[in-house]
Assembly symmetry: C2
Homo-oligomer: 320 residues x 2
């Protein structure tokens, strides 16, 4: 087994370096230059094998997802990703596994111009914690607390695919590669988050499912909401594999989509559509912010909908 | 078992908040204000149960050490600690364990004015990753690469106590509570790091043992060194429990001391002594930087010393 320092050298050799990295991997800590007039946005998420991704997931997908879930948090704050650290715990010093993991991790890092500036490699049960750092002009971060009564509730992309992929994997039955791909390689909506600066009032990323994550926004903002289930954006693939009731359950409670949910005044709808269309990212109004606390789920016929009591169990833990 | 969000609320309720925390725990990410003219210093370290601390270590000690090892890295960069995130993986949602862990973690955080601004709680084998953020006036970070030929090599405090405590625990024989305390509750030399701004040329914290950690400084600076083993500072307790040869081994290869090792021109010796004396922290010159690469270990009689072939196996993994 190669030593810890050999693993670190392997990571260091492949890490890109931005101009604002004064000192990257290779000292006691990284030294980074935050531009004047900007605030620093910091988030961290852990993935544990067998808890946050199925055992046997390709290491490149694990690497991709470990960074993606963090960039998704930055996107929800309207922050531009800048730097990250990687704390990687491996059962053994498997260099081939590490190289494949880095393939996925650095592919996404390079796509978004993120420098890997430090970290830690340790021996133990397979797990990793990424801390991602982004930058936002002071005062422009999108918070969960900004939703106001009467605003539209938007979501990007389509919902439920990742949860559908996980449900199929759990059942060990027929599985759609498209759904599984959405589970393993979620796209963090970084550009959308940046485009929403000054347009959206509040935002959250969908890691735990629309009901729970929108619930955080409502609680932080002291408001309630109505969701129109018939308007929840759904991929053709999800519709091919699950009936309507099951789809709503997956979309509302499944999580792992890493789409953005945000609120905005109706007067900004056209600007929002244009901004996201320029990114070729569909966005859909799925409900409205209301004064009455709580979340009301309405079927296309206007009746109240209650999810099945079984409940969907997803992989993600809570994060702050 | 309480849910992830209940655990996060439990953490959030106890986290202190600095004025420069625009948004702490409770959004998708933290928002932090870096003062103009300062650089951001970032480090992260993981502790895994049974790898980085003995099973059965008191949870308050685990919490203390998880933050201490990170503050030690900031100290070695001469950075003032500001914020941290905590990614905590627990086998179950044991609230009593979490509370005790937070007792130790937040005791040290409060001592150094560090705000816990975010994190993640997940289910899995016991482990935690802390990412610590510090601030340093631009250009004043102490790097490993600044050592110059002819400079003194200094260490703070005494060396080998933590390794002695670990060796006694491994042997399941008579154990000194003082040595074990140094293993479980290392003191990060934060104030010493700040005092060394402008005085020291290079610095590193002693996590992996003096030989390895000084080795990083020498490699980064393109120099070598001579260490005088007779000058290595040793506690009375360590001397009571281990003979001279074993002490040198523990001091050179044991790690876990979290003292600082730094280099400085001999002309700065008096200023350094005074600055550290004001902190009531002893510091000792243990050798000199030399042009010839490599590390030469000299006994008090002037002979070369070679550590026993068995080698000391410590708990810490490598980190970058």
């Amino acid at each position: 087994m190669p030593g810890e320092f050999a693993l670190i050298d392997r990571i260091r050799a492949r890490a890109a370096r931005r101009d604002d990295v004064v000192r990257g991997i290779g000292d006691d800590a990284a030294v980074l230059a935050v531009p004047d007039g900007h605030e620093l946005v910091v988030t961290c998420d852990t993935l544990v094998a067998g808890v946050h991704f199925p055992d046997g997931t390709a290491p490149s997908d694990v690497g991709y997802k470990a960074l993606a879930v963090n960039l998704s948090d930055l996107a929800a704050m309207a922050a531009a990703p800048a730097w990250c650290t990687l704390a990687l715990t491996l059962p053994d010093g498997d260099e081939a596994w590490l190289d494949a993991f880095l393939d996925g991790f650095l592919e996404l890092a390079d796509e978004h111009g993120v420098s890997l500036v430090g970290g830690d490699t340790t021996r133990g049960p397979l797990a990793m914690t990424v801390t991602a750092h982004g930058l936002v002009p002071a005062g422009q971060a999108l918070l969960r607390s900004g939703a106001r009564v009467g605003e539209d509730i938007w979501v990007t992309g389509t919902l439920g695919d990742a949860a559908g992929g996980l449900a199929q994997w759990r059942q060990r039955g027929p599985a759609s590669a498209k759904l599984r791909y959405r589970l393993d390689r979620p796209t963090p909506r970084v550009q959308a988050g940046l485009a929403l600066r000054g347009l959206a009032s509040a935002a959250v990323d969908l890691s735990d499912g629309l009901a729970a994550d929108l619930g955080h926004v409502l609680a932080a903002s002291g408001v309630g909401a109505r969701l129109d289930l018939g308007r929840l954006p759904c991929s053709r693939t999800l519709a091919d594999h699950f009936d309507e009731n099951r789809r709503w359950e997956l979309q509302l409670t499944g999580g792992d989509d890493y789409e953005l949910c945000f609120t905005a005044p109706a007067a900004r709808a056209l600007e929002i559509e244009q901004a996201l269309a320029a990114l070729e990212l569909p966005a859909t109004v799925v409900g409205q912010v209301e004064a009455e606390p709580g979340l009301r789920l309405l079927t296309p016929e206007g009746g109240a909908w209650t999810p099945p009591a079984t409940g969907y169990q997803h992989f993600e833990g809570g994060h702050a």
